[in-house]
């Protein structure tokens, strides 16, 4: 058992990559057989999911921590660890990838490469959440861009090249400035403690203990880290890459983008910005929250007028992620819990929405809302699932979305920040009901107006397999949130303590 515990994080991170390599070897020796590639990709991603499940029980066990020297002279270590903040995001990732593989079964263009990129991407994403060394974190963060770039660029829609390049350049500018901040933090930490290390845990502790960053340094580093993360989130006005990338990406790419990649930004804010630079966080909180609220309202308004289903979901992401940022910067425990919960909700609901759009896109090769109507007649099961997901997305009680939004709004309202922010944000909930319900009404209900839609087949077994797990989770997360929240509470409390204690001390100083 000890052996398993010691290696489980490494396995969860690198099993997909290992699978990708095996697939390449298999195709080299046995010929490039698309069906075998699909099955292997599904097998390895499912195995990774199963391997990640024990983490739910073991996440607090210190034997899980992997720490080994990597580049000694620089103080870079191979350091993986799971805690309450990363636990559910890892599980979300490992859950979504097999679903994406299933949802990509119909792809027949360069199947091997597609599946290999998918698995490489999974290693990158899990690595970002588990890495506890800034160098390692940056490595996973950047390397992940490559498979995503190809997924959009090769298997994407009409304007895929533009979208892929925009996605990479936007992210690169942010992340390279983050690299400078990482280097600066590493040097400052080394100069003041004598220990040159990239270890996130150690640096966070030492910042809290020795308080070696000047206010000025905190502000600059906060800005550099926050820029990288806010581009990824994406926070208004840095969001413009998102609709392009979402619309042009293949279905699975959109699911991964919305489900996991965007979470990396909010995860990074919670992992780095809040606990490491608390005074700067308090200083920047109001402007960031204002941007978040603008994002919430703006995203919802723009989503309302989209004629394209995918674009609508993409802009709804901007709105939903605004809530996450709002909750994070409320600096209350409730707000942060809501933010974390909303990250998971958004991953599941928006992932499911993209899958649902993919289902009808495969059948009709269009995503325009005006092309559909009355789909509930030919596709009753589809319409049922669609409705549940929609209701989850607009935050109906007993479904998951409600819990997250409620906690965020309560957390913001009870925080030290102006209440008007929470009030305006609440209008986002209303607006989301408007655009989502209006959309479902135009797509699902009424009479079938378009001839092509009359004979559409309902969801197939494969599609059910991708959708049902998400629907089950939507309901489960809605009725039993403490299953998730109690496991993340400890870590969030610690972040809460770090961000508030030090900031108060700083104000006295």
């Amino acid at each position: 058992m000890h052996f398993i515990k010691q290696n489980i994080l490494t396995v969860v991170t690198f099993l997909p990559l290992f699978g990708a390599l095996l697939m390449l070897l298999h195709s080299y020796f046995r010929g490039n057989n698309p069906e075998a590639m699909r099955r292997m990709a599904l097998g390895f991603s499912l195995a990774t999911f199963l391997a990640s499940l024990p983490l739910i029980g073991w996440y607090a066990d210190p034997t899980l921590i992997v720490k080994a020297n990597w580049i000694g002279s620089l103080g870079v270590s191979y350091h993986l660890r799971v805690d309450g903040l990363s636990l559910w995001l890892v599980i979300l990732t490992t859950l979504l990838v097999p679903l994406c593989v299933l949802a990509s079964w119909h792809i027949d263009k360069h199947v091997r490469e597609y599946m290999v990129f998918m698995l490489m991407l999974e290693t990158g994403m899990v690595g970002v959440f588990l890495a506890m060394d800034m160098f390692l974190f940056y490595l996973f963060w950047e390397v992940m861009l490559v498979p995503m770039y190809f997924l959009i660029g090769v298997w994407g829609g009409e304007r895929r090249i533009y979208a892929a390049i925009k996605f990479v350049i936007y992210t690169m500018i942010g992340s390279l400035l983050m690299l400078v901040a990482i280097i600066a933090l590493y040097l400052l930490h080394g100069q003041s403690t004598g220990v040159y290390t990239f270890d996130i845990v150690q640096i966070t502790e030492n910042i809290a203990r020795y308080d070696f960053l000047t206010y000025q340094q905190q502000m600059w580093m906060f800005a550099a880290f926050a820029l990288a993360f806010m581009i990824k989130v994406p926070l208004f006005p840095l969001h413009t890459w998102l609709p392009d990338a979402h619309v042009e990406a293949p279905t699975a790419g959109s699911v991964i983008l919305a489900g996991v990649l965007l979470k990396m930004g909010t995860y990074g804010l919670m992992r780095f910005n809040l606990p490491m630079f608390p005074e700067a966080a308090h200083r920047f909180a109001i402007p960031i929250m204002i941007l978040a609220v603008i994002g919430i309202v703006y995203g919802a308004l723009v989503a309302m007028v989209q004629p394209d289903l995918k674009k609508l979901v993409a802009y709804s992401s901007v709105s939903h992620l605004g809530f996450v940022v709002l909750g994070t910067f409320a600096f209350t425990e409730t707000g942060m819990q809501g933010a974390l919960y909303q990250m998971l909700n958004h991953g599941i609901s928006t992932g499911a929405l993209f899958l649902l759009v993919g289902v009808i896109y495969e059948r009709r090769h269009t995503r325009l809302i005006s092309e559909f109507g009355g789909l509930s007649t030919p596709m009753p099961v589809y319409a049922t699932i669609f409705m549940i997901v929609t209701l989850s997305s607009i935050g109906l009680p007993l479904l998951n979305g409600f819990v997250g939004e409620f906690l965020i709004l309560v957390g913001t309202f009870t925080s030290a920040h102006p209440r008007i922010l929470a009030v305006i944000a609440t209008s986002g909930v209303v607006l989301s009901a408007v655009y989502m319900l209006w959309m479902t009404q135009r797509v699902l209900f009424g009479r079938v107006t378009n001839e092509h839609n009359k004979s559409l087949a309902d969801v197939t077994l494969r599609e059910k397999l991708t959708l049902v797990p998400l629907v089950v989770l939507i309901i489960f997360m809605g009725v039993y949130p403490s299953f998730f929240l109690k496991r993340s509470a400890g870590q969030l409390q610690q972040i809460h303590r770090l961000v508030n204690e030090r900031a108060v001390a700083g104000m006295v100083r």
């Binding site: 580049i71 002279s73 490469e113 950047e142 861009l145 660029g153 390049i165 400035l177 590493y186 040097l187």
Partner: protein
Amino acid sequence: MMTLLLQTSVLDINYVAIWPMIILSISGIAVLLFGIAKDPVHRDMSMIGIVGFVLAGVATGRLWLPVKTVGQIRAFSNMVIIDHFSLYFFFIFIIIGLLTLLISASFLEAERLPVGEFYSLVMFAVVGMMLMAAAGHLVMIFLGLEIASISTYALAGYRRNDLRSNESAIKYFVLGSAATAFLLYGMALIYGATGSAELEGIRTAIIDNVNAATKQPVHTELLFLGAAMMLVGFSFKVSAVPFHLWTPDVYEGAPSSVTAFMATASKAAAFAAFLRVFVFCFVPGYGQGLHSAWTTSLETIAILTMIAGNIAALTQHNFKRMLAYSSIAHAGYALVGLIADDWQAVAFYLLTYSITNIGAFGLITYLAGRGDRETEIDDLAGLGFNNLGVSIAMLILLLSLAGIPLTAGFMGKFIVFKAAWQKGFHVAVIVAVVTSAVSVYYYLRPMVIMFFRELKVEPKRLPLPTGVLVTVVLSILGTFYLGVMPGRLFQAMENAKVSFVQSR
């Protein structure tokens, strides 16, 4: 036996110290003589070249431990200094020289160009570069530079029936000579100011502020002027903005394998001499602010180089021209390490850059096909999935040039940025970082064309020549090795024994 050989005679002749150069010179001459034979066998000449480089590598390796124990070996009255700095650069030159031979073989054969001269020119150029890295005297730097440059001028014009190649050689020759003139003038002025042409003498004169010959204080104006002249000369050689104008034309016109050699080895050699003079001799705190003067001006040059190189590369349609501008930009990054006074960072950066670039150019020699003509980026259209091996290799090498983690290119940039940030060159680092992000755009373009566009014409199915294959494989292995496990090399460089620095 080692101690016996290390003893210096009256004339201070020490053949052991220059074994690598001797071996390369002899094998260069041997290849040349072989080439005169009526019907020279291609294979044999490649073999001689390869064996020559391998033996030179062994000889270099055998010098590492003695240097570790004695600190440095000086020979020929301080003309040649063998320390870990020079040995490290020897390795770079030998590896690049060897790989240049490997990627040229098939091209020379296809074009029916004489092999012997080509190989020997490469080998002589490498000898010149080694002398530059190991120079302990301004004259030695000049001699090494001339040996290396003249060989490269000839190589650039090696396809003598091709106008582009001729243009490249003439441009390189005229502008290179002008640069050398600047350098020489600077050397003369520095000699006048300090009374010594030995690097150590210059260093001592500046530190003590005493002219070695006249025993008067160092003449500051002369010293500054000389340093400025040398700075211009070296900036020419490393193709830093605004002295970079020759680079794109020369790189585009020269045969691809020669471009590879120029962009990697020649640049590294110029940087080696640059480091020797500026970092080791013009030290901080002495010479009436000489150090801050040269770092400030070089900081400006580095910033301009990074901006101009990367922006110009954005609009290129020719692959070689794009890599030429990219090499200008990379010179800018290396200069950022230079102003940080960190020779390890610069040397490591040059190694990562050279290893990656030689592989990329190796692929270009293959993709350019007959006559070295098809070097437009559009010629790559649709290559991606039709020739997956080649295009993935290209992808990895371009990602390394762009500085994506796990590759050598990232590690090199990381080390340089760290060194410069530590020394307080914050503006330069920020510019470096932002331009790196911009550079991703043009490194991605070949990938867009290779993978995202559909095929225009039938894919080329030329067999990949063994030499190119070996080069590319080695280059990719090196890229990953330096990117993932650079720890041992860092350790070795940290413990490296370098002359001058210890005596500080």
